[in-house]
């Protein structure tokens, strides 16, 4: 029992509580853990507590009736007080949590948070302003850290945006080195193309081109470099210019691919980083007299071209047995020949189209048969319309289209038909 009485919590509480009751309102005001002051409406200090006087390092007699609230602030704080604090207090009758600094008598500064409320008289006229001042040294140090952090982050963001813009400009220039801006006009032949890059920097591993060889023949090619992104793009560039140069020297499709094979193999195989591509290379020979265009092409491991006929039929132009370009020192390539007459179109594409996902699993890839069926429906249409239809098809794949994709259509327009779309 003795022990219990000594540790009776209720007994101890009562003693403290009694002591608190003896703490006078005056004592509570003067020694409160925050600064108190009351001013006239013009800011003249009428009453101030000991806590705040202590922070200021000033005597009561030097402050009361002699200083205004704004005199306690730094000059910058005074400007803020006059332009923000005072007008807001007038309008709202109260203001809270404003960060300011008070000046101490010895020149030091104390960051504080200030709240004020206007006391009104019985008829509603403003009488005086009551203000509390909280020591905010720790809090302000923390907030300044935050502000500093935010400034650093903003600067980093600005820098990153500038870098990105610069990089995008550079990429745009590089991109132009990979693909033709526009296809050259070919007498009696209409062309259209489409290009999609899977990589966000718009550098792709698919490529195509159409270019004049001599007065009557035009070269064309479309292919796919292994991989995606910048590393694939580097190979794409080498491939494009090698094929163009090779064709000027010897436009025979197999010769051009053989040259490309040598260049790629020599460039990459020795480095333990083999890079290869699949490609269809061909030559168009329009004949103004007959209105027909002869096509000679060779393929190195590329999906077969499609021929869409004016009569509404379509079929693959098989090129079996051609090997990937660049993987072996010497490679065989398969050739094919066809003639395009009015209303016929030759369509080249990369496997981004046929391997687009239309569902889960390997079986749910778009596939050759679906493509043949789709283009059969568009046989007889002019190249821009065929490309337009395929572009819509690709768009419909949404996320299922996750590889680079290139399309190139070359056709002999039938007289009297009109192109519905411009690509």
């Amino acid at each position: 029992m003795m022990c219990r009485e000594e540790h009776d919590p209720r007994g101890a509480d009562q003693a403290v509580f009694a002591a608190l009751l003896e703490d006078s309102a005056e004592e509570l005001y003067e020694s409160a853990p925050c600064g108190y002051l009351s001013t006239l409406m013009d800011g003249t200090i009428a009453k101030i507590n000991a806590t705040l006087l202590g922070w200021l390092g000033r005597e009561r007699a030097a402050v009361v009736g002699r200083m205004r609230f704004s005199d306690l602030l730094t000059v910058g704080g005074r400007l803020y007080h006059e332009t923000h604090f005072a007008p807001l207090l007038r309008m709202q009758g109260e203001i809270s949590g404003i960060a300011l600094e008070i000046r101490q008598a010895d020149g030091g500064r104390v960051p504080v948070l200030v709240s004020s409320v206007v006391k009104h008289g019985s008829t509603g006229e403003p009488l005086l302003i009551r203000t509390t001042v909280f020591d905010a040294r720790d809090r302000r140090a923390y907030e300044e850290e935050l502000l500093r952090g935010r400034k650093v982050a903003e600067e980093a963001r600005r820098q990153a945006e500038a870098d990105r813009a610069r990089l995008q400009d550079a990429l745009a220039v590089l991109q132009q080195a990979l693909l033709p801006d526009a296809l050259p006009p070919i007498p009696g032949v209409e062309t259209a193309s489409y290009y999609h890059t899977a990589s966000p920097d718009r550098l792709g591993g698919d490529f195509y081109d159409v270019f004049p060889i001599d007065g009557k023949r035009f070269g064309f090619f479309l292919g796919d470099v292994c991989g995606k992104g910048p590393r694939a793009a580097a190979v794409t560039s080498l491939t494009r210019y090698t094929l163009r140069a090779a064709a000027l020297h010897d436009p025979d499709p197999v010769s051009a691919l053989t040259t490309l094979n040598k260049v790629l193999h020599e460039r990459y195989a020795g480095e333990g980083d083999p890079r290869f591509c699949t490609v269809v290379f061909g030559v168009l020979e329009p004949d103004a007299a007959t209105g027909q265009t002869a096509v000679h092409l060779a393929s190195g491991g590329h999906p077969p071209a499609l021929v869409l006929r004016a009569d509404g039929t379509a079929g693959f132009l098989p090129t079996p047995g051609g090997l990937l370009v660049g993987i072996l020192p010497a490679a065989p390539f398969a050739t094919a020949t066809t003639v395009l007459t009015a209303g016929d179109t030759l369509l080249l594409y990369t496997d981004g189209l046929t391997e687009a996902r239309t569902g889960e699993g390997r079986a749910r890839l778009y596939g050759d048969e679906a493509l043949l069926s789709f283009v059969t429906d568009h046989a007889g249409e002019r190249p821009p319309d065929v490309i337009h239809a395929l572009t819509e098809l690709l768009r419909g794949f949404g996320d299922g289209l996750d590889d680079d994709t290139a399309l190139l259509a070359l056709g002999v327009p039938a007289p009297g038909t009109e192109t519905k779309h411009t690509i």
């Binding site: 000059v75 910058g76 007080h81 006059e82 332009t83 007008p87 807001l88 007038r90 309008m91 809270s96």
Partner: protein, 267 residues
């Protein structure tokens, strides 16, 4: 461009009366004229607006380059006058707006026929013999104070503050939001205001001008008011018995009386 929306233009008072523009200074918006408007509505067509970057102006219209000089703000004034086709309007400008009014009157003399300059200062920073009252360092301190008090500004509050008066459920959060401004825009206005030097522009004023200063103004002391009065030929100086930089709020009766007496004398 919809100037009325951009500058949150409010027109009130007597549609047949002469036009009076009330232009707020740095740190607030057209709300600060609420004790002035009642004294004018009977006889005058009263036009209130917010500068772009202040109050409920259209934040998307803020172009930092344009508002890095007082001329940019003066163009706001001229465009408001043009949108309402005001002629010979009296321009009442508080603080930095007094100087903006001087520039606007110079740009479009046919639009502005009289100036009331409330607590004006053409130059805040001391310069050789000239006493503006502040050093460049003081202005940096103000920018710091601005910065410290924008911690509460957030992406969430911004749309509320920048003009969504039709959402009363946010009323409690709107505390302290009178005069709230996007911190980046406020910083531009603060720099433009306190680093400008418009002393030479005062000499070009050709319209009747009333200069109002206060007995005790920490921002525009009496010697600055006297300088403005001295520099504008034919101007009238009235010193209001008021403490602080906003006599139209702290001593509205005396301020209104001085303004209305001056305006009545123009007719």
């Amino acid at each position: 461009m919809d100037v009325a929306r951009r500058n949150n233009v409010t027109v009130t008072g007597n549609p047949q009366g002469p036009a009076v523009l009330l232009a707020h200074g740095f740190g607030c918006d057209q709300n600060m004229w609420r004790s002035t408007v009642p004294a004018l509505v009977e006889d005058y067509r009263v036009v209130l607006f917010d500068y772009v970057g202040s109050g409920r102006s259209d934040p998307s219209a803020f172009v930092p380059d344009r508002y890095a000089s007082l001329e940019g703000y003066a163009r706001d004034v001229v465009e408001v006058c043009e949108a309402l086709d005001l002629r010979d309007a009296a321009f009442v400008g508080h603080s930095v707006s007094a100087m903006i009014g001087v520039l606007a009157a110079d740009m479009a003399p046919e639009r502005i026929g009289a100036l009331v300059m409330v607590a004006p200062s053409p130059r805040y920073i001391d310069d050789e013999d000239y006493r503006g009252g502040f050093s460049a360092q003081d202005i940096d301190e103000l920018l710091d104070a601005l910065e410290s008090n924008y911690l509460g500004w957030s992406a969430v509050m911004a749309p509320v503050i920048m003009g969504n008066a039709d959402r009363p459920e946010l009323g409690e959060e709107l505390k302290n939001s009178f005069c709230a401004t996007d911190p980046d825009m406020a910083r531009v206005f603060a720099r433009t205001t306190f680093l400008s030097d418009s002393r030479d522009d005062l000499k070009r004023v050709r319209v009747p001008t009333l200069v109002l200063d206060c007995t005790n103004d920490a921002i525009a002391p009496r010697e600055v008011g006297a300088f403005v009065h001295r520099s504008i030929p034919g101007s009238t100086l009235v010193t209001l018995d008021a403490t602080g930089h906003c006599p139209h709020m702290s001593a509205p009766e005396a301020t209104n009386e001085a303004i209305t007496r001056f305006l009545a004398g123009l007719r």
